[in-house]
Symmetry: C3
Subunit: 499 residues, 3 copies
């Protein structure tokens, strides 16, 4: 009882229903220490739905309103709210980070497989999402590893040349893997003095991390807390664009910046404070009047009559016909979320050839694209007419095509540089990413091409023109051309085309 | 009755007054289908003032509180709320997009001329606003068309040279014309299967679009929904800076970014949630304590005694003595909103010469500038002393001058490049925008000069130093100089000055 | 009485307690004119705590809740709310801007020394903050002055070379000194026609300004209103990150941008509207669940048991072991807030040598660093485990090290350029900041190195990779290397290393 009062006193002052179910004795015991050791962590949970609702109660909702997808929950979990102990003691046999702690076998890293206890459908879907494979898709692709090396490695001078020290795991964890996810492994156990006396804890590599494709100590992939931030697990937060912006804001994938200058983003910023971000299902018109990222890509959307506009999906790509993040061109979406298996016609681990030809065997076909487009457009049609949507889509596909054509021109110039030897490429057993001119070429597709395409997709066209888009894409080709002319002149080399 | 209930159920849950006036039978009929076909569109309207107030009621307000400016409304419109049918059936004789739809003659594109039925003064003022001419000001200026071509056209290689395929209408609609407005024309009629059976619709070119200078099927210019987003038409939204940011955020016109780092923007972001963005008139101190874009440039502002600080204006430039968007230098504001008529002394369609001389015949004179400055400064003086305002203004005009001087230096270097032939300019019948070095020169005034001036005007000086301002302007000149030296050395050309 | 009613009518409509104490007769007299002359200014104050609470009442709070730090207040100030007259008439003997105004001796510029009447501890602490010395730290450092000249000076051509006209005081006030603070001096007195008739006012140089290191007419340094914006002095606003962003958003110090893409910033943006930004002390978990800038760097933080997690500090650097704003490398924090006294081993006014060696005599030692780290980490430990915090810190210090190593490589290349004469440096009595290649080198540490370090410190790693971080740092070195090779080839010069 003392504990309940203590915890309640930590709760934020905005309206929260009374505790409808009790917490377990085990969780109460956790809170006895952790309420004062890490009050912010406990308060986040206390303000969460997990702290107020038991799985049994969650099940009483109608199917559309229900937030859990399991058909049955273990009896010993069913009646209590979802507290510390409920999650941090699940599946002990699978968790290499499991350890004895005050008489309990607990683990630090709660994983999608743990969350699947109540949310199996979401975890299954997420397993089909590219993001759940973000670690391997980066780490098991030799070309991307080469890219990581040339970005993160420490450059030094040796005999007048620039050499690169490969980046340490710590450097990668502090950069790429912060979003992609680290590999979290138990490296031993360590004894530590705490306020509660000497205690032993597992020592984790790659920790902390909440990347979308984290490799967990139980072997599972991903981290639900990437979007459902620990320990609040707020659906409001997951539905707001700021969550996506954590990883999708840089020039390579500027979707948050584009959303901000779009009409949709403007509506969200201007009048979104009137909306209900907690409602399940999410009713277009009633709960919100313009989409956030989640609306189009994830959420269960219904119309005012309660009819489903779009099913909830944590796979996401089942609403995505195209992959407009160009590598190096945009292309039909990959069939498998594991993109490390892809080989293009030239044998490179890329979804397109350097000349733009897609690696079609690994990509969805036109029928599947039509199907996905239809699902996505159902969301658009909640507010727009068919003519509106068709008009938008025609422009978008035209822009994909022209952006690809621009990248092809830049790549032809780069190919001349490689062929003539003024830059070193694959034929010289060299990285195609490590020279200054190669980085300039990469910006053509990785920064500017992506910006142009994403701006078109999301109606943030101001961004796609001057902010990091067509202006720079146009200038980029001219600069590569100028560089090539000058270098050929200086070195006396000739290429097939450049004069 | 059934309909009223259905629609009410779509309304957002924040407080909204009861329906004070009835909707027309025609609008009720529209909603019968569209409530379920496009619930988001209907809900936006349902949450709008248009859904609650009839023109007659709008007229009962005091003059300062009144939101309509017509002296009289057609009897058949006066008593009902402003619903679908009220707007989408206006002026059928003028609308080439008019078509028969379920027994009504309707049109898709509601235009300023339609809005003028109730808001004639605002539409008239907007006709004097540069923005209403944004389509022609871009499309009818040969120099700007050349610029559009070199940004949006697809570049390809031919005999070692870069060639440009002129951009398609779809490409331009997806980029420049997204803000400037497209030309929306009826290209025929098309029959389509709908949930309501086979129906015929006009096929529109340039659609969708809500650009500020859109050329409409009734021949009118502009789109009120650029700022008063359809179908909510929210004054809260129009007054918030996010609306302006849709078009004014890129490096060419970074006013939203500058506002964000200004003291004014900070106040808005930090405590603006306490303000009343719906009040008409807008009382400084009571409804808000720092300006948004609309405060200085558009809104009817009164002080606590109800005295007018600034009259409402949709012309906007009557509060603007200077045009600080440099083309290529800043200058007194153009006399006419149609800038395509301007010719500088050299005969180019620019408001200044390449050496900075203004095309004075086409620009307002000093007296008019004084008048406009006075109107604008009345807003400043609501919170600041005269000495404060004067001190700010002196700095601002000094910064305009020095930024112009920097552009002059960059232009002199560019002129040497053209004169010596290392770049091709007007004398060689060539575009002055299509070479890499020319794009670099353009960034001097279009990106950096504009950033410096706008930062000074709006007190976002952090932006004007490092973000895209003085740092880059200084570096830009040095880089052009280095490039010129190198090119002259390589080609053996000489110029008058560069050595 | 009339006045009280007038003022109340200006107050915003959100809940505000009744006026608990009376305003002084002098303040009432001020308001008699200024309520209508500058209603926004008066309304800001009216909505402030200053307008509602007297020093005596402020003292009645418990020590942790207390917002004033003086032990005693002059009797004539103690009983009234803190109004216009209370601040603008303080310390008349020290204020050179003091003047007779309607029978009162008033001054325009309220200074930290004035604020110290009630807030002596905060003012004393702020005097130890680098920011209070921001004017002199820039103006009294010959190297930085050289930098200011090359950024702000107007460049012109003379005999084919670029020359620089030194920037005017107005230009510097409109750029660097906007944040750093101007020197505000009385340049005379001027008579002006006002609505109240002819009046005399002091003429101030460097006005307006609210920079953090402003030199005031009473000789004091700083401006409390930089963060506690006049005349609201809102703690809500000072605690929100937008306030810091006014000066900390550019590529040189992009902390706001990094915060925005961090998990912390995401939580603030998504659910911060639920928090209490007014509470003193600030209770972690109860009042907020993720930090803003102020949480880690300034505020008095307590846990749910009311135990102090971090003492309030306006010195700030007592929570900062490192200075990660690299000049030109990151280093232990300076001992004195007056950094103009620092000389590195080479005698330059920089905290590190060009080869990275710290100017240790002027920097805090390891013990002091440990102490400060401990204080800072107490805030982290409110929500995170020790292992989490340690893991984060190890990465952060590794990133500081690698970013420094990258800058060393860039600097070695630059040194070769200086040694070989293809660029002019200190040995040639030339600025090391004025050539294009030197500006490129500066971007390595001033823009990219700082971005990488700050991203690591604040968990905004997406920013630190592509947005302005590792990508650019890597490319920057390669570009300098390419430039050097080309220049040496063109000029026939040789250097020790570059071939």
């Amino acid at each position: 009882m003392r504990l309940l009062i203590l915890v309640a006193s930590l709760a934020l002052s905005f309206p929260s229903p009374l505790l409808a179910a009790d917490m377990s004795d085990a969780t109460a015991e956790c809170l006895e220490c952790h309420s004062s050791l890490a009050p912010g962590m406990v308060a986040a949970w206390q303000n969460s739905r997990h702290a107020r609702v038991s799985p049994t109660e969650a099940w009483k909702k109608t199917e559309l309103e229900r937030r859990i997808s399991t058909k049955s929950v273990d009896k010993k979990l069913a009646a209590n709210v979802v507290g510390c102990a409920e999650c941090h003691t699940l599946n002990p046999e699978k968790h290499s980070d499991n350890f004895e702690h005050n008489g309990y076998q607990v683990h630090i890293v709660v994983t999608p497989e743990d969350c699947a206890t109540c949310h199996p459908q979401e975890v299954k879907q997420y397993g089909e999402n590219l993001m759940s494979h973000a670690y391997g898709n980066l780490q098991d692709n030799s070309l991307y590893q080469d890219l990581v090396r040339t970005i993160n490695g420490v450059q030094f001078l040796e005999e007048g040349q620039i050499r690169i020290t490969p980046p340490s795991p710590g450097t990668n964890a502090d950069s790429c893997l912060s979003c992609h996810g680290t590999r979290v492994e138990v490296k031993g156990f360590d004894s530590r003095d705490t306020e509660m006396g000497e205690m032993e804890f597992p020592v984790l590599s790659g920790w902390p991390n909440a990347g979308v494709g984290r490799i967990n100590p139980d072997g599972s992939k991903g981290s639900c807390s990437s979007c459902h931030t620990w320990h609040r697990f707020s659906i409001e937060m997951a539905r707001k664009p700021h969550t996506c912006s954590q990883c999708h804001k840089g020039p390579d994938v500027p979707i948050y910046k584009i959303y901000q200058v779009s009409k949709h983003g403007n509506i969200y910023s201007s009048i979104g404070h009137h909306w209900d971000f907690e409602a399940v299902p999410w009713t277009v018109g009633k709960d919100f009047t313009a989409p956030t990222c989640a609306t189009c890509h994830v959420s269960l959307i219904v119309n005012g009559d309660g009819e489903v506009v779009a099913e909830r999906t944590h796979q996401m790509n089942n609403r995505l016909p195209w992959r407009i993040f160009g590598l190096i061109y945009s292309h039909a979406h990959p069939k498998s979320p594991d993109t490390s298996v892809i080989k293009n016609n030239a044998g490179l681990p890329l979804p397109t050839d350097l000349n733009g030809e897609p690696a079609s065997n690994y990509l969805i076909d036109n029928n599947e694209q039509q199907e996905r487009r239809k699902v996505l457009q159902q969301v658009c049609l909640s507010c727009h007419t068919q003519q509106w949507v068709d008009g938008h889509w025609i422009r978008f596909e035209n822009t994909m095509k022209t952006a690809n054509e621009m990248t092809l021109t830049a790549t032809k110039l780069m190919q001349q540089a490689w062929d003539s030897g003024v830059a070193k490429g694959l034929a010289q057993d060299s990285s195609i990413f490590d020279e200054a001119i190669e980085k300039k070429w990469m910006e053509n597709w990785l920064f500017f091409g992506n910006s142009v395409r994403m701006s078109s997709a999301m109606l943030g066209t101001d961004y796609g023109v001057f902010d990091n888009g067509r202006w720079y894409m146009a200038k980029n080709i001219q600069e590569i051309h100028d560089w090539l002319k000058t270098m050929l002149a200086v070195t006396g080399e000739t290429s097939q085309d450049a004069k």
